[in-house]
């Protein structure tokens, strides 16, 4: 039941995030979505990810959005979408429906492992290579941001944040 509530909460926040006209509000709703997702991951037995999602997803990313919106400004003029909305809704529903149907047909009833052994495991257990690669990602990302913003008038400290 709790899951249903959180799930509905996530979806409502997400919908609000994409439907709100003001970008800053959008970012705020995104942060709330992120927090609820963190809560769900916590309930699913992943406390570390919950913490990180909360700090990165709800914290850092929101800060970045606020920075970016500050520079780029709020374009709140309502714009008619370029794709007919019924087509968009229809195809999304179709894709989601097909996926759900296939998954349920394939997996039958989904089972959870009882969440008993919640050991405080070390992250990156046996996945050092991924860790190393993340450094590469960050390096490339930082270079990318520096390169993109090289001549900008306002060079905010976006790159330091990441």
């Amino acid at each position: 039941m709790v899951y249903v509530l959180i799930g509905v909460g996530i979806l409502v926040c997400a919908l609000l995030a994409i439907l709100t006209r003001r970008l800053l509000l959008s970012a705020a709703w995104l942060a709330l979505t992120s927090a609820l997702v963190a809560l769900m991951t916590y309930l699913l037995g992943a406390p570390h990810i919950a913490v990180i999602e909360l700090s990165v997803g709800a914290g850092l990313v929101t800060v970045l959005f606020v920075f970016a919106i500050n520079i780029a400004g709020e374009d709140i003029t309502p714009l008619k979408s370029l794709i007919p909305k019924p087509l968009a809704v229809g195809s999304i529903v179709l894709a989601g429906g097909l996926a759900l149907f296939l998954i349920l047909r394939a997996a039958g009833v989904l089972n959870l492992t009882p969440l008993t052994n919640l050991e405080s495991a070390i992250l990156w257990e046996e996945r050092y290579l991924d860790l190393l690669l993340q450094i590469v990602l960050i390096f490339s990302g930082v270079l990318g941001v520096i390169g993109l913003l090289a001549n900008g008038k306002h060079t905010p400290d976006v790159e330091e944040q990441s």
């Binding site: 370029l82 794709i83 968009a88 195809s91 894709a95 097909l98 996926a99 149907f101 296939l102």
Partner: protein, 582 residues
């Protein structure tokens, strides 16, 4: 010895091509001479190959994988065609020295001519189908590059691309055939295939046979692919003589001749070959009759004569077709080169603007007449013998109505030939052209060809031995000494043909009195001037493709949302396949 000679005959012109390309236009005279040197070198080595003809594989270069062994066989058929390519090639190069004097991009011109000669020699000497296809495409590339040599002229560019695309479409037939041969016999080797063709399932063999027929029809400009050859006449005249009359267009006939034993039992194949040949011969002859462009007349007549060769293969007489190919190469090269000399001198290709050229250039007039008479099939020139052989075979082995068509075409040939000679060389000048002098290189190239057109038929006996004993292991070709040939030819049917030809000539002589009849055939004239609608079909295909392409460009909206929609759409598509399929 043979392997070295083969390598040299292909390698010398290719080396020459690279050298000439690198030399570019810096020193014009040197470029001419270097090209002449290399082309003559190739001609000499190819002639040296003649005594070495044998059916054995002479040269094997193992490539491995799915490319098989690159094998070369210097058999009689291959050597004979390579001699034609190299010798006429060298004559065309010599002719070019005068014809191309002062033109830009000489390096490119000669490089492609030499590249072509090497590729043509490779095409006929190779016995690996992949290699044949490779050379086949290279000859198409060279032909394209040379047709659009004057590429500031949109007509030349268009003609070149048309030739490239139509011959490549035919190439698909050859490619699929080669792939089938490899997939079902495990090797690209021709002789291996001819020995084991019966192991291939019947329907696949039929596909193979008709694939090769399409390839041959496209390369040899036969019905329904004949439209590219007239447009290829934008090329400089020596190129028309070499590539579009004497050598490359023969590749299709060569292909059919090579594979005849495997395909002769395929249902309807022989009939299809005969009909393709006869239709090409007939339609092209009618078009030649109404065209006023000197080179186009010769191009139509090439299509028509190639039709005879294809028809001959359909009737089962590979020897007759190859013998006619031999004669045709000589007299058609002669005609094209002398036409080139005339065009170079006068500066127009329109026969209605010529007239009386014979007074200015008597020598050219006489060699052209020799070629024209050979084309018309008058005794005792080489065209007479070979055409009669084909008609004999057609009477014996083909349906009578096709024979009648071919005899009728023989009459038409005489008619358009005499019309052409008359319009160009006789009468009074119909425009005030200025006749420039003709260089000695042109004469030097014309005279040997004229001589050969007179006497090459004497080699018939030797030629039959070359084809019969020293090549084509799966063909039944009996040696045919020329006395026997004379005996065979000088019979009643020949008199019929001669009567038709005479009637055609009389028709021309009394053309003024027969105006009523000619007017009655106006609709045919109109159809022929519009190439019987084939040009329209070509244009329609091009137009449909281009407008489809243009319409499709709308899908690249440049709008991010639609781009993402593409991703979503393919997910839906694949998921739907999963739902429906499983």
């Amino acid at each position: 010895m043979t392997p070295i000679l083969i390598a040299l005959t292909i390698g010398i012109p290719w080396l020459g091509a690279i050298i000439v390309w690198l030399m570019g236009d810096r020193r014009e005279d040197l470029t001419h001479w270097v090209s002449i040197l290399f082309s003559i070198g190739a001609a000499i080595t190819s002639v040296l190959l003649l005594p070495n003809a044998s059916q054995e594989t002479a040269l094997t270069i193992p490539i491995g994988g799915d490319f098989g062994d690159f094998t070369f066989v210097a058999d009689g058929l291959g050597i004979f065609l390579s001699v034609i390519a190299a010798v006429i090639g060298s004559l065309a190069v010599i002719f070019s020295k005068s014809y191309m004097k002062g033109e830009g991009s000489l390096g490119r011109y000669y490089a492609f001519v030499l590249f072509f000669i090497g590729a043509m020699v490779g095409l006929v000497l190779s016995s690996n189908l992949l290699l044949i296809f490779l050379f086949w495409e290279i000859t198409a590339l060279c032909s394209y590059a040379l047709i659009s040599f004057h590429n500031d002229d949109p007509k030349a560019v268009k003609g070149g691309i048309k030739a490239l695309i139509i011959t490549s479409i035919g190439g698909v037939g050859l490619m699929v055939g080669a792939l089938i041969v490899y997939a079902y016999t495990g090797s690209y080797d021709i002789n291996n295939f001819l020995a084991n063709y019966s192991t291939i399932p019947g329907n696949i063999l039929a596909l193979l046979a008709f694939g090769f027929l399409i390839a041959a029809a496209a390369k040899s400009a036969q019905f329904p692919f004949q439209t590219w050859l007239p447009d290829a006449m934008e090329a400089p005249s020596p190129i028309s003589a070499l590539i579009h009359a004497a050598t490359m267009v023969n590749a299709g006939v060569y292909l059919l001749a090579r594979f005849y034993p495997a395909f002769k039992d395929v249902p309807y194949w022989s009939e299809a070959v005969m009909i393709v040949g006869a239709l090409s011969a007939l339609l092209a002859a009618v078009m030649a009759l109404v065209s006023n462009d000197l080179k186009r007349v010769l191009a139509y007549s090439t299509v028509s004569q190639l039709g005879y060769m294809v028809y001959a293969i359909g009737t089962g007489s590979v020897y007759a077709s190859q013998f006619h190919l031999f004669s045709h190469s000589i007299f058609k090269a002669l005609l094209f080169l002398s036409a080139g000399a005339v065009i170079h001198s006068i500066g127009t290709r329109n026969m209605l603007e010529m007239g009386g050229v014979g007074k200015k250039h008597p020598l050219v007039k006489w060699v052209f007449i020799i070629g024209a008479l050979a084309l018309a099939g008058l005794p005792i020139l080489n065209g007479f013998w070979s055409k009669e052989l084909i008609l004999e075979s057609g009477l014996k082995n083909g349906p009578l109505w096709l024979y009648i068509v071919m005899v009728f075409v023989a009459g038409l040939t005489a008619l358009y030939t005499i019309r052409c000679v008359w319009l160009v060389f006789f009468g009074e000048p119909r425009s005030d052209y200025h006749a420039h002098a003709i260089g000695w290189e042109m004469i030097a190239a014309l005279l040997p060809l004229a001589g050969a057109a007179l006497v090459s038929w004497l080699a018939a006996g030797r030629f039959s031995v070359l084809l019969g004993e020293k090549s084509l292991p799966f063909h039944a070709i009996e040696p045919l000494p020329y006395k026997e040939m004379m005996h065979e030819i000088l019979s009643l049917p020949t008199l019929v043909v001669m009567a038709v030809i005479t009637a055609a000539i009389l028709l021309w002589v009394f053309r003024k009195k027969l105006e009523g009849l000619i007017n009655g055939l106006k609709s045919i004239r109109w159809a022929a001037e519009n190439s019987f609608g084939f040009e329209a079909i070509n244009n329609a295909i091009v137009k449909v493709t281009q407008s489809t392409a243009e319409a499709l460009r709308v899908t690249q909206t440049g709008i991010l949302n639609w781009n993402v929609f593409g991703i979503l759409a393919s997910v839906i598509l694949l998921l739907a396949i999963l739902v429906l399929g499983a």
